[in-house]
């Protein structure tokens, strides 16, 4: 593992080995410690070393941990159970969906109202007796509303 870290310092790791090495570096504190030491050795040999507060990186990472996790143009708060996601991409689809739902609801309501007083709805009901139906047909040629005027109560 540390040999991979040494190769990463020299930019000599490629492909899947590089991916594995970077994963190891990110997840393993021991690997990161080796990386830090190798980097120090490299700086000293190049006469480019200077003393910086060794806790500086820890302070930075402590603040990073408190930041919302960046995730592909969105972010997730660390101390909340719900995720807040940027809806910009889906806003148009959401609005169109609302309009469509409203339109369908309006159409259904209007269609239902236009048929609610139709006598043919009532006549289509299975609970109407044959006598009533014959009486209806014998009188509707003269008065289409005879059936209703006769006071037959629809079984609604």
């Amino acid at each position: 593992m540390s040999e991979n870290i040494s190769s990463i310092i020299d930019n000599e790791l490629k492909g899947k080995d590089l991916d594995h090495g970077l994963n190891e570096l990110a997840k393993n504190s021991s690997a990161l410690s080796s990386y830090r030491t190798y980097q120090m050795i490299s700086d000293i040999m190049k006469n480019d070393y200077y003393d910086v507060n060794s806790e500086l990186t820890d302070k930075i990472m402590s603040r990073i941990q408190d930041e919302p996790t960046q995730f592909n143009n969105g972010f997730i708060y660390n101390n909340q159970s719900t995720a807040t996601i940027d809806y910009k991409k889906y806003l148009l689809v959401f609005v169109l969906g609302l309009i469509a739902a409203f339109g369908i609801s309006w159409a259904v309501n209007n269609f239902s109202n236009s048929e609610s007083t139709s006598s043919s709805d009532f006549l289509a009901s299975d609970s109407i007796s044959q006598e009533i139906i014959e009486d209806h047909f014998s009188t509707t040629t003269r008065n289409p509303n005879h059936f209703l005027e006769a006071g037959y109560q629809p079984n609604i």
Binding site: S2, E3, S6, S7, I8, D10, N11, E12, L13, K14, L18, D19, L22, L25, A26, K27, L32, S34, Y35, R36, T37, Y38, Q39, M40, I41, S42, D43, I44, M45, K46, N47, Y49, Y50, D51, V52, N53, S54, E55, L56, T57, K59, I60, M61, R63, I64, Q65, E67, T69, Q70, F71, N72, N73, I76
Partner: protein, 229 residues
């Protein structure tokens, strides 16, 4: 200056071999491998891997510190600005598209953060000319940083450098040669393998073993240095 005494004999032999060889015959990789590594770490960070961003912090915090020390005098202020710069970089990481190198982007954030900080304190930044970041990076004014070192940190740095030097001198020849060619001459593994007439894997292993030997000697000093902070 913290002088690093170099064991020249082995380097000289290999350097001569390098001069006689035709450099045109060597294959230089066209892509920038360092930039490739940084890009992979950025992509991991963009997918929610904070530890990957931590590797970038580890890699560049000292360089950023050195850059900002040319604008700000106070050590604690520099540390605060370095912290703020990395936080800003993390918040904007999804906006980084890879058009420039990551460290160039980071350094611009750092310089702007430092300027804002100084303006808020009604202080003019030290470098008031429109100096490009690359110029600030290459500005060879080592005395600026050296003057901010305390006597204690200066002594610690000298001790660390002396330990590294002594350890290298006592390394087996093949390990000493490999790491010296890598760090002092900046050669790639492939080039070192040609010079030392060994496989690239052997070069990789020798450099790693050399570093491990030096790291082992440095361990007590590093622990002392950490306690000091």
């Amino acid at each position: 200056m913290h002088n690093l005494k170099v064991v020249d004999s082995t380097r000289k032999v290999y350097s001569e071999n390098l001069d006689t060889q035709s450099k045109e015959n060597m294959n230089f990789p066209p892509k920038n491998p360092e930039r490739e590594i940084d890009q992979k770490l950025v992509e991991k960070s963009q997918k929610g891997d904070k530890q990957a961003f931590g590797v970038l912090v580890e890699k560049y915090h000292k360089k950023l510190y050195r850059l900002l020390s040319r604008m700000v005098r106070d050590q604690s202020e520099i540390e605060d600005i370095v912290q703020d710069s990395f936080i800003k970089a993390y918040r904007a990481i999804n906006n980084f598209r890879g058009d420039s190198a990551f460290y160039t982007w980071l350094y611009r954030i750092g310089v702007n953060t430092a300027k804002n900080h100084l303006m808020s304190l009604s202080r003019r930044p030290k470098a008031m000319n429109e100096v490009e970041i690359e110029d600030m990076e290459n500005f060879d004014d080592a005395t600026d940083l050296r003057s901010y070192e305390t006597p204690e940190s200066s002594m610690m740095t000298k001790e660390i450098a002396a330990t590294v030097n002594e350890t290298i001198e006592h390394l087996p020849e093949e390990l000493r040669s490999a790491i010296t060619l890598r760090e002092m001459d900046g050669l790639s593994y492939e080039e070192i393998a040609e010079i030392m007439d060994c496989p690239i894997g052997t070069v990789r292993s020798r450099i790693f073993r050399a570093r491990e030997s030096i790291a082992e000697k440095l361990k007590p000093l590093i622990e002392t240095s950490n306690k000091r902070w």
